[in-house]
Amino acid sequence: MQLICHNSAVTRSYNGANSLKNKIQFIYSQFTALVMVAIGFITAEHNPGSWMLFALGGAISILAFSQIKSRKKSDVMAIKNAKTQASQ
């Protein structure tokens, strides 16, 4: 019983810290994407390469979304595995 409680507490704290880190990284990536697109807009008139900034901003944003999605999936799997091990 003690072992199960310990395992679930470890899982919760691991998951909480990981989830916070994922969220912070997601916000940072989205902010970067926004900055790239904003610079692209501001300099578009004089910068023939501004499309690269739009593309980069878009790519970072999409990658950040797909990464947080896959990390959520792997976290859910990790919790399931931990629960299965604890119950065994």
Binding site: I24, Q25, Y28, F31, T43, P48, L53, I60, L63, Q67
Partner: protein, 312 residues
């Protein structure tokens, strides 16, 4: 400002590697052209320094050293708190972003010269000075991260570092030789752009290799490798403006601040922080920041420099 033709050589190398071409340079060739570029930049800067030497340049040099001290401190907390890297890994990556990229500087100078934009030709002195502080900060961060290296040992390493020897040596040769250095110009000046094009071709191949290595923390590293040069460039631009540089000088200050080292610092970091994962810093500086700066960053930096120079 249009993208310069030499940048196309970088794209050629990058795309060739991505599509799986067997394009490669003979062993040691890439290293040889790096030596040529560092010597050429040093000699040209030394000649310009001898022609314009004044106490105000010494003051500017001192302030550039302070800028070099500040830049790694800006990157370190982001890497540690947002990136979730360990202290030693954060220290190693931050040191890359406090130092400068000779290749990026060379491309920036080529852009200015192709557009006939005047700039403070003694800038290579600042390039050398921006290499030093990042290494000292690396020691500080290394101590924070449990490193044991002594300052005396570090000073020795700095003096022995190839890029410092070549840049500083070139500066001294140019400074002492002055008019006599004209004899060297057919090699170090006239051939500069051709060699730079070959260098960029090799860098394109290397950058594509590094991009392929991006796996762990890849989205964060891409975001960090593109946002940090913009933030550092903003700081550098304001710094250059406050020092009273010309528009070309402000542009070069932005480029130097925005660039990340991939020659001098990685070598130093391997000795300073042997336990750190060095692939993060090298991958970010060479695989993300270098391509970002020369493809997308330069025109933005130029516009920012132009805008700053008009505020007076």
């Amino acid at each position: 400002m249009q993208i310069d033709v030499i940048v196309l050589f970088f794209l050629l190398g990058f795309v060739a590697k991505l599509i799986g071409s067997n394009l490669r340079f003979p062993d040691g060739f890439h290293h040889s052209i790096s030596i040529f570029l560092m010597l050429a930049i040093g000699i040209k800067g030394g000649i310009a320094l001898s022609e314009n030497f004044s106490t105000s340049i010494l003051i500017q040099a001192g302030l550039f050293t302070l800028l070099g001290l500040a830049l790694p401190f800006m990157a370190y907390p982001v890497l540690k708190l947002v990136g979730g890297f360990e202290k030693k890994d954060s220290a190693a990556i931050a040191a890359h972003f406090g130092s400068v990229s000779i290749g990026t500087y060379a491309v920036a100078v080529a852009l200015l010269e192709s557009q006939n934009v005047a700039y403070e030709a003694y800038f290579p002195l600042f390039v050398v000075l921006l290499e030093f502080p990042a290494m000292f900060i690396a020691v500080f961060l290394a101590k924070e991260a449990g490193g044991k290296l002594q300052l005396g040992e570090l000073s020795q390493q700095i003096l022995k570092n190839e890029s410092i020897v070549l840049l500083f040596g070139g500066l001294l040769i140019g400074f002492v030789a002055q008019a006599q250095a004209v004899k060297l110009m057919p090699l170090f000046n006239d051939m500069f752009y051709g060699v730079l094009a070959l260098f960029l071709l090799a860098m394109g191949i290397d950058a594509a290799d590094k991009v392929k290595l991006l796996k762990q923390n890849s989205v964060f590293l891409i975001a960090f490798g593109t946002l940090t040069p913009v933030i550092n460039g903003l700081v550098g631009g304001v710094f250059g403006y406050l020092l009273g540089f010309s528009v070309g000088g402000i542009f070069l200050t932005i480029v130097l601040s925005a660039s990340a080292s991939y020659i001098a610092v990685p070598i130093a970091m391997r000795t300073l922080l042997p336990d750190a994962n060095h692939s993060f810093g090298m991958t970010t500086s060479l695989g993300i920041t270098f391509p970002f700066n020369i493809l997308a960053g330069m025109p933005v930096y130029w516009l920012f420099a132009h805008w700053l120079s008009k505020i007076a």
